[in-house]
Symmetry: D3
Subunit: 216 residues, 6 copies
């Protein structure tokens, strides 16, 4: 028992990879994903605050940092399984909660238990912070799938993930930070180019001919 | 729809790794595991047949080859989750079966469906072939965990897995092939040595001194 | 000596990678390849049986499972070397057989030797099962090379491998299972698309505009 | 220009590995390290607060999340280089700051610049939050080096890193959270065992003999 | 102290990867890069000699083999950092030299020190051998970046690296070996094709129809 | 045809890994091995020269750099195969030579052919340079196998490789550079320690108690 085991478990999140069972050019660990989601949530919160909303930063960071910690106990369960029946989904959430609480009881000294039970709860609720987490989680997923598509991954799943992520983000389009994402960030993402082979030849010719002229 | 998608899915099993979320010196894909289990089952079946049992080889190979195919649809769910409640376990098995049947209906032409529904069923039943599969699955798991322990993996989980695998194998100890494993194979596994550092120094000295004598 | 060393050797096949010395997006171990070939052979055998042929399943599975086991002793020798001279090829086959038999003599107890000498023999003979193995081996090779081509591997070797695999499969085109592959599976493989960048932009626009309308 | 490039840069931190140029059993990316440091800082802050200190959580999370972001611009420079001369160290800090500010000016719209210049500043100052960051950073480093030592890494560097990390932590021993670490967490870390080979044999014998008795 | 530590350090160069912090399809270690640069320098030297120049081969090989050895002590520092100010660049070179000399003093017995201080000096001077090294280093960099572009890496950095490498090579265009590279090697590199998906379909059709005719 | 394909082939040597089919903690490419052998040969040559021998450096570097280039055409053939019969060994050498010459004829313009046929010849002859190559090749092999043993690789093969490498080096013990290796380098290698777990506890206690005293 002890916080030592909690600290050690953080490294297990570096060994848990997202979207298993599919060829990917680049793997993403749950640890790295949690980092990116927290950074994205930080930015979204900043936009909300600038637009006059009150952000509870302590809560926002806690939600973002811990939102996938329970995967340590449950492993990666494919979405279609989880949602195959609402009965299963309900039971599954229950089990997830039980396993997390069991871990806290076994590893955390009494004085920390209440705080951590709160921190490891499902964070995606209807508060501003819960909604920012929902959006930040999907923005990172959208970037992950876009990364595969842009690198040439022929697996249609990544287009489906991109689509699903975007559709979820849009559900929150009344939020100022989501409007910012859709209007100011997404267009730049779509501007990203593949490096065309033709461009390479052209650039090489340009360099060679420029230098030729200078050489004369 | 089509057998093409079934053939392609075989390669996804090369991207599904066993025991995620833990540091391992050597990863094992579900594809490679299925190969090893089938080879081990082949050996166990050979022992049973030599001892006078009748082995239905077609059935045995089908069970061994396909025993983890459903992980393609469900992903890797940690054992404690699956068995957290018998209710969840029951529901989970149901969902697993539904997803597999859905895949067969969507991808397999009518004439193949019945055959493949049969092949993708849970194979660990009470027939001789079902029991051989149960044992072969655990023998490979025992070798995987032994490999980590022998390489110096400090994670206690691998000792637990080794223990659990061995205890399950022993449940089948009335089988001739299990007796062969316990009496003729397991002792050799336990004889395996770490390469001691001392031995290296000693050997080096021996080679050097031998050569010295020859050189005189 | 012992079956323990045979079981342990199965894991070495997980460390032996096909087509060394070339950049590949996805590696394939000999263990995973053997699994896929056995699964493909299972399907081809099913077609043959449906078409009225008699399949000896025990033999078919043995051939498929063990067809590359000897690579454990010989390593990966590039095809041009093996076929550089028919004299070398003959000698090489001889040596391969000798090394395999030596392993069996050293590791297998007497009672298993005959069975395993038979199992580790070259399986690609003129029987129905031998021909199914030849075809299944090339279908997996075709999928492996197609996987590289589809992911954008610029190495022309993979186009050559694809071509050679397809030409070998066609040599067996009198077989019902090969006709099924050529008529019902290969066309779907060729339908596979790269995910076009344009499609991504288009889809994003569609989602955005739909949501806009709903939002009004 | 744009936040899109900032979001994309987060994934580059997944490709930046700590302690390059040394054999490691397990790699750690700057992204995963940042996640772990933030989680550890969260715990240390919790202890401080319980002991009556006032923690500015917003500041603490900002410091922890962003503390290595500048490595994106500078790459990994080995410590002995950085500290070879105080003149170099001074110049280097200056350059680091310039490059970070250049990135902010080029990529962040005007309204976000001030906030992010503040967030990307060196966080290890003399405030409580700055000191928690210093300690959390070293605790993760200590765990990383301990992980290598425990897995059997013969490189003496990891013992040196462990030592240096511990000595730095002790510099802050007047802090309640550091006392908690030294008294309640570190002893458990040192209790961690290698899995001894002898224990494996013993356990196997125990299982076998127990089952034997039950079988009678 | 000792040559043993020098020999061991060579393996550290296998763990030092070029261009960290960016997604790459293929990683290149400093050890492999040094090998390739030496082989390319060998070829360029051969051209120079054929054209009547006198090549000091001993010097050329020493320069090429050792040109990145100092990265062992300094790690990978991103180019923009190094060149951010000429003052920093000067200091940095000084530190690099000091660290290298410190290593030689600590590890090399007296009799070897002078030779190795000479060998580990910056090799890119104005001698023929120094210029061949400069060109060979950039040719390998050009091939590395071309490899990423050709495999579909969407990161614009690789196009910039390709461009910078080519522009540096052209600075030496008065050299016969550079003219050979520009006229006889680069055009072949630019001829390299992506494998088009269309070509695959076409080839498949051709094989199928040929075989059909033969089958009649 | 062209030198471009020769340059490109250098990168294939980065994808060719030594000792395939065995679990290894650290992989070594043929490219990195060639680099290390050349560096070791450089040192051995330096010792020979200091002891009054005349070293033909151009020849020595050519032999070391190119000594495994032919593996590009033949792949990795396990030693027991190559030496299974002297007849096979003879034939194999012939084929290796033929494939190398075929590559040179196809890729190298006429003016370079003679030089490269010479460079790609078997380099381990009875000249001083040939003997240095033989020794350097085995020293790197000895370091590679020692690296696995020291990291805890339980595979006995690495002890056998270490032994065979050392025995071959000793065959050349009349050479001054070999005497230097045996007397001045090998003892330091054998002094290398595993990091003992006890030492870690001890050191931690020492640090803690020192600091305690200082704190008082």
């Amino acid at each position: 028992m002890g916080i030592h085991r909690y600290f050690k478990s953080l490294s297990d999140l570096e060994n848990l990879f997202r979207c298993p069972g599919k060829f990917k050019y680049q793997d993403h660990s749950v640890a790295a994903h949690s980092f990116k989601v927290t950074k994205i949530a930080q930015f979204l919160g900043t936009v909300e605050q600038m637009e006059g909303e009150t952000v509870d930063w302590k809560i926002l960071y806690e939600k973002a940092l811990n939102h996938d910690y329970a995967e340590l106990f449950t492993g990666d369960i494919k979405t279609p399984v989880k949602y195959a029946s609402s009965e299963l989904k309900g039971l599954f959430s229950q089990v997830e909660q039980q396993l997390t609480q069991k871990f806290i009881r076994e590893e955390f000294p009494t004085e920390f238990r209440e705080v951590y039970i709160e921190r490891f709860k499902e964070g995606k609720d209807d508060t501003l912070e819960g909604k920012i987490l929902s959006v930040a989680d999907k923005i990172d997923l959208l970037y992950e799938s876009f990364g595969e598509i842009q690198k040439g991954n022929p697996e249609p799943l990544f287009l489906e993930i991109y689509e699903e992520a975007l559709m979820t983000i849009i559900l929150f389009k009344e939020m100022k930070s989501v409007q910012y994402f859709l209007n100011d960030i997404l267009p730049d993402l779509l501007q990203e180019k593949f490096i065309p082979h033709d461009q390479l030849s052209q650039m090489t010719q340009n360099i060679l001919s420029q230098k030729d002229e200078q050489g004369q």
